[in-house]
Symmetry: C2
Subunit: 340 residues, 2 copies
């Protein structure tokens, strides 16, 4: 059923029916009621394409997931999107998902913009000197970045966690516990989050007068396997690290496996601190959680990012918002004083 048919059923013009449904004032309460109940009765909902064409608004938001060459899909994106989608459905927006392989990103974003199937975009996984920021600015497409590019000083909307502070605190906790050989199992340092976490780590080492040992650094996709491989290699060193800082729960699962297969005990022999995005499949909860962690809900970040973007779309002339979330340091079972 379309608007024309519905209005014929009611013996009203399309104009009046449309206005009644969209809560315009120039319709009597009586007819509005009549129209609305008829719409429910006939299960009428406006055709999204037609509404979009008429209003020039797609009522949809695009999420572009970067897929790196190794075809790895980060579960963190999924959780973020789950958070954002709640906001969208609450506001009558749809969510358009696009995967963009590294290298094709420029054309993917241009295509999205010119096809006009979305009113705004959420940018995932920002990298240092990310060309997408200026591209989207040029395309005049509202966007919010999950993360931020500290190398880019222009104005853009972002939501991020205080990665530097979080990893500073985590590292400091370890140095306070007496650890001096602390490994960092990090995401790829082209990603801004990983770079900032490393800086926080280095700051804390410096504070404790511990020279940076590049041997103890790993960067790469934070998969279980990579966590295992990195930690296994590190534990094979003669002077192996007594503490690990791991940028994700998934990587930490591999680190835990490596610790166990080396015959060591997590918590007593080797301390581990993770960053906990509160993924629903990987709860690190309980009174004393398994892992000591810097914790921040990525799902909530998704909700907030979506709200920010919708606000920008509703009021494009307002100053661009940004938001820095602090992570909470949660003490779990995986940390302890350095054994001597």
């Amino acid at each position: 059923m379309n608007l024309k048919q519905l209005s014929q059923q009611l013996g009203l013009s399309q104009t009046t029916v449309s206005r009644a449904l969209n809560n315009y004032p120039e319709v009597s309460e009586q007819t509005r009621e009549r129209v609305k109940s008829a719409a429910i009765k006939f299960n009428y909902r406006p055709n999204a394409r037609a509404t979009g064409l008429a209003t020039g608004r797609a009522r949809a938001i695009g999420h572009v997931i970067p897929m790196n060459s190794t075809e790895v899909l980060n579960p963190i994106f999924a959780e973020f999107i789950a958070g954002a989608s709640r906001t969208y459905s609450k506001h009558g927006y749809e969510l358009l998902l696009t995967m963009a392989a590294t290298g094709t990103e420029d054309s993917v974003y241009r295509q999205i913009a010119s096809r006009q199937s979305v009113d705004g975009i959420i940018v995932h996984g920002p990298r240092i000197d990310d060309p997408r920021i200026s591209l989207l600015q040029e395309l005049r497409l509202p966007f919010v970045i999950h993360g931020r590019d500290t190398a880019n000083t222009s104005e853009y909307a972002w939501i991020d966690i205080n990665n530097r502070r979080a990893f500073f605190q985590a590292t400091k906790l370890l140095t306070d516990l007496g650890h001096r050989d602390i490994a960092l199992i990090n995401g790829e340092e082209t990603m801004t989050f990983a770079s900032r976490r490393r800086i926080g780590y280095e700051d804390a080492l410096q504070l404790a007068n511990i020279p940076l040992n590049r041997q103890l650094l790993f960067e790469g996709d934070l998969t279980e396997e990579n966590g295992y491989l990195a930690a296994s290699a590190l534990l094979g060193l003669t002077k192996y690290p007594t503490a690990f800082l791991v940028s994700s729960y998934m990587g930490a699962l591999g680190v835990r496996r490596a610790i166990h297969s080396a015959g060591l005990n997590m918590g007593s022999d080797i301390s581990v601190i993770i960053h906990d995005d509160e993924l629903s499949y990987f709860h690190n909860s309980g009174d004393i959680p398994q892992f000591t962690a810097t914790r921040s809900s990525v799902r909530e970040a998704g909700t907030l990012a979506a709200e920010m973007l919708l606000a920008i779309i509703d009021n494009p002339s307002a100053p661009l918002p940004n938001r820095l979330l602090e992570a909470n340091l949660i003490i779990g079972e995986s940390t302890g004083p350095k054994k001597r």
Copy 2:
């Protein structure tokens, strides 16, 4: 730039420009070339909403992710979608993502259908006697189910793996190794995949003359935590199981943790077989993978499901396709003969 502006630039009618771009035959090769290069030059791409309105096709596919009450988002869906999205972009389709909480599903699907923003739907996570099948049939919206509902005998398109056979083989491998107390850590049995896996498991037990012990069954979200809790409880039994069958990699990570904290060794003391969806963040690869597994790529299933759906949309009168994929049994390090 829109079609009108582009055609004015070229001194041609909108009709000819449209036809040139859409490769209609009634345009001379010369003008076609001229039009196409102008389109590239001016970065013109048709407005998706207008095209959709004119053709009655949205050129978009909807994926509806069921979110259960515990707000858990299954990473397997994400991997499936990543596979599907390749097919979509190859065919010029977009992907619309919707999260539907249990209970709201009926209205979510109705809304999608009446808004007409998609040409078809992929149904995730089918349950036994799933009402969504008859609903979508009634709404006349093309759909493909990832999984199937064996309780529903009507015609519908699906792609599934042979869950029953896979878990039969896995269980048989364990009984052949001498195991008699085999636990099954399964997904919720309202889900058809879990139900069929359990049947395969029971078939193999029966073949080995092992009575079913309900104490050894667990069903629930296959999170790391649930895997840990279930396995910990089971290992606390006086006559604890010597083998675990785990329906997902994530659950198996928790099982592995439980085995370790019980002071046991996976592979020698306790055998474990998992179902391996080949998630990109959870590789179970290598010459001898960590886990013995029934393996089937969920990403490939996504690609195939998308192709099936697009075929249905292109030719709605053809018989509805379905596809049963076999899982491969891969021997890894996590299984061994029962110790006596």
